[in-house]
């Protein structure tokens, strides 16, 4: 159980205009600016939930994750994770969580990945037998057998990221915080990582909180979404709900041979060329299947595609709506 209540965190950032003169000036007077990274953030996440935490750059996603990991101490507010306050009980707390920071590495640069894993095993005091089992499982699921003996420095980004995720799971944490876990991965690795996270959540009941800019991650993984902007939680709901909210229109692309069909109520023509038309549908008036049936009755359809708004567009629309 994760519970955050009115968490605030500010950072002081040095400000200096570019240029040599300004650099000299900064020697005797420095300007700082206070940035409200988190402003009364509150939410709850139940055990076994999978939550996508989204927001534009600098919104406060990583700061929240770091607070939940006990790395940062907030200025005010309460945070209780399985009954512990992360930053007060750091060592006890982090035993039960796993973290992946997509832009950093926890593996030793010039030793084989397997050695890093063994160090992590000893740090978390994992029994050898349990370690073997977990490692075998992870090796199979994340396809690591080829790369365990390779030093980290010789791995590609995708290979490394798979190892990073495995490293965070060796102690079988109840909770997994993923801060941009698919950054820089190719399509195959992305899909592998997503499937793995899904399976972990389904089979082990691991609570997963995931920040990402990749909306396909969100679409593939999470039911629930938290939207944060300028340090504030703006929305908390399911993906489907958010999509409904962001836009109600559906887009229908029809290719046909024969006469141009008549339009019914709820159908708006966006674009029409010979043998092809793009319509927007108002689902309150007409459903996509009705619309297709209606067109099919009038002409020969050769191809048809229906699309809702993509998660990407939805998020862009939300960012716009909240001006973040």
């Amino acid at each position: 159980m994760i519970e955050l209540q009115d968490i605030c965190k500010t950072f002081r950032v040095m400000k200096r205009k570019t240029g040599f003169g300004q650099a000299l000036k900064a020697l005797y007077s420095r300007e700082t600016e206070t940035i409200h990274a988190l402003d009364n953030v509150s939410f709850k996440v139940g055990d076994g939930e999978m939550v996508g935490y989204i927001g534009p750059n600098g919104a406060g996603k990583s700061t929240t994750i770091k607070i939940m990991c006990g790395i940062l101490t907030p200025d005010s507010g309460l945070c209780s994770i399985n009954g512990r306050t992360p930053w007060k009980d750091r060592t006890a707390h982090v035993k039960h969580i796993g973290v992946v920071f997509g832009q950093r590495s926890q593996l030793w640069w010039d030793v084989p990945v397997g050695d890093s894993f063994e160090l992590i095993r000893d740090i978390y005091r994992v029994e050898q037998k349990a370690y073997r089992e977990t490692l075998d499982e992870l090796t199979e699921l994340l396809n690591l057998s080829e790369i365990l003996k390779t030093p980290t420095r010789s791995l590609s980004l995708g290979q490394r990221m798979r190892c990073e995720i495995a490293a965070s799971l060796l102690h079988r944490p109840q909770m997994l915080f993923l801060d941009e876990p698919t950054i820089g991965l190719d399509a195959v690795s992305k899909i592998a990582v997503r499937q793995f996270i899904k399976r972990l959540n389904r089979e082990q009941g691991t609570t997963v909180i995931l920040t990402t800019h990749d909306m396909q991650d969100i679409e593939a993984l999470t039911e629930r979404i938290l939207l944060i902007g300028k340090g504030r939680i703006l929305l908390d709901g399911s993906l489907a709900e958010l999509k409904r909210r962001a836009s109600v229109q559906k887009i229908l692309v029809v290719e046909y041979s024969g006469a141009q069909p008549e339009l019914a109520a709820g159908m708006n023509l966006c674009e029409s060329r010979e043998g092809r038309m793009i319509l927007t549908l108002d689902p309150a008036v007409i459903s996509a299947s009705d619309a297709i049936a209606r067109i099919a009755a009038q002409t020969e359809i050769t191809d048809v595609a229906v699309s809702g708004i993509s998660a990407e567009e939805m998020v862009a629309a939300l960012y716009e709506e909240y001006q973040i």
Partner: protein, 267 residues
């Protein structure tokens, strides 16, 4: 405890791989040791009674110093720790169920121990075998040798406890280069790294002998050579324990404060 041992082990076995670096280091230390001793022997030839230590004591001091340099050097830093702080990888370090102070302490001990294991024996071997006045001798008696061993371990711990303070300062200064350079020059001098403390002018010497830096290499080297013996040696060891406790406690406290205010650089 097991976790800290694991940190020690991986660091030790990792550092011990660097044989070429050890060989190069050894050559430097032979050369340095001989040069220093030749210089001292020139001084001693002019008037041996003008010096506070006998020539044999000085010879032993210099050879032990060269052999155990890796344990005592005050200008050596775990760059990885500075990088961790300035680059923000501290995030991962703090997400581990380890006390960060203890972890870095173990890591530093392991690096120094591993470097020392590679270098000490060959240097001691040569120092014991070379003919003539530059040959090293055994300590006066077995008791003195035991005191030397105890004092060596304490000196190593004091050096690491001191470097921990410099590491922690990186939380506040972002770049710790200034602190490092200052510490390297001043501390090495006050620890007896350039010339033994007895060679200092009386006034400076009486102050320097009370400072924490005197609890570093100064103490074991002088105990080995017999320059400090008996009750004086026990007092010296007590001083080492004192400074170890003071710097250890200060470091831990400071570390806790620094961690509460930590900022993870680079998002």
């Amino acid at each position: 405890m097991k976790a800290y041992l694991a940190v020690f082990r991986i660091r030790f076995s990792h550092t011990i791989q660097y044989r070429a670096a050890a060989a190069a280091g050894m050559v430097t230390q032979y050369a340095w040791g001989f040069m220093e001793l030749l210089m001292f022997s020139a001084f001693y030839r002019v008037s041996p009674e003008a010096f506070p230590m006998t020539f044999q004591q000085t010879v032993n001091y210099v050879w032990i110093q060269q052999a155990f340099l890796a344990l005592f050097m005050t200008w050596f830093w775990e760059m990885e720790i500075f990088d961790t702080i300035t680059s923000g990888s501290i995030a991962y370090e703090m997400a581990r169920p380890l006390d960060l102070y203890g972890r870095w302490f173990c890591q530093s001990l392991a690096t120094r121990a591993a470097r020392c294991v590679l270098r000490a024996l060959p240097i001691l071997l040569v120092a014991f075998l070379i003919p003539g006045p530059l040959r090293m001798t055994l300590p006066p008696d077995a008791g003195q040798f035991v005191l030397f061993l105890v004092s060596t371990v304490l000196a190593l711990f004091v050096v690491v406890a001191f470097s921990m303070l410099i590491y922690i300062s990186a939380f506040y200064t972002v770049s710790a280069v200034g602190m490092r350079v200052m510490a390297a020059v001043l501390v090495d001098f006050l620890a007896g790294g350039i010339v033994p403390l007895p060679f200092f002018p009386p006034f400076l010497r009486s102050i320097a002998e009370l400072l924490p830096f005197a609890a570093m290499q100064n103490m074991p080297l002088r105990i080995y050579s017999g320059n400090i013996a008996g009750a004086d040696a026990l007092w010296g060891i007590a001083l080492q324990v004192f400074w170890l406790v003071v710097m250890g406690l200060a470091g831990r406290r400071w570390m806790r404060r620094a961690q509460a205010n930590v900022v993870v650089q680079g998002g």
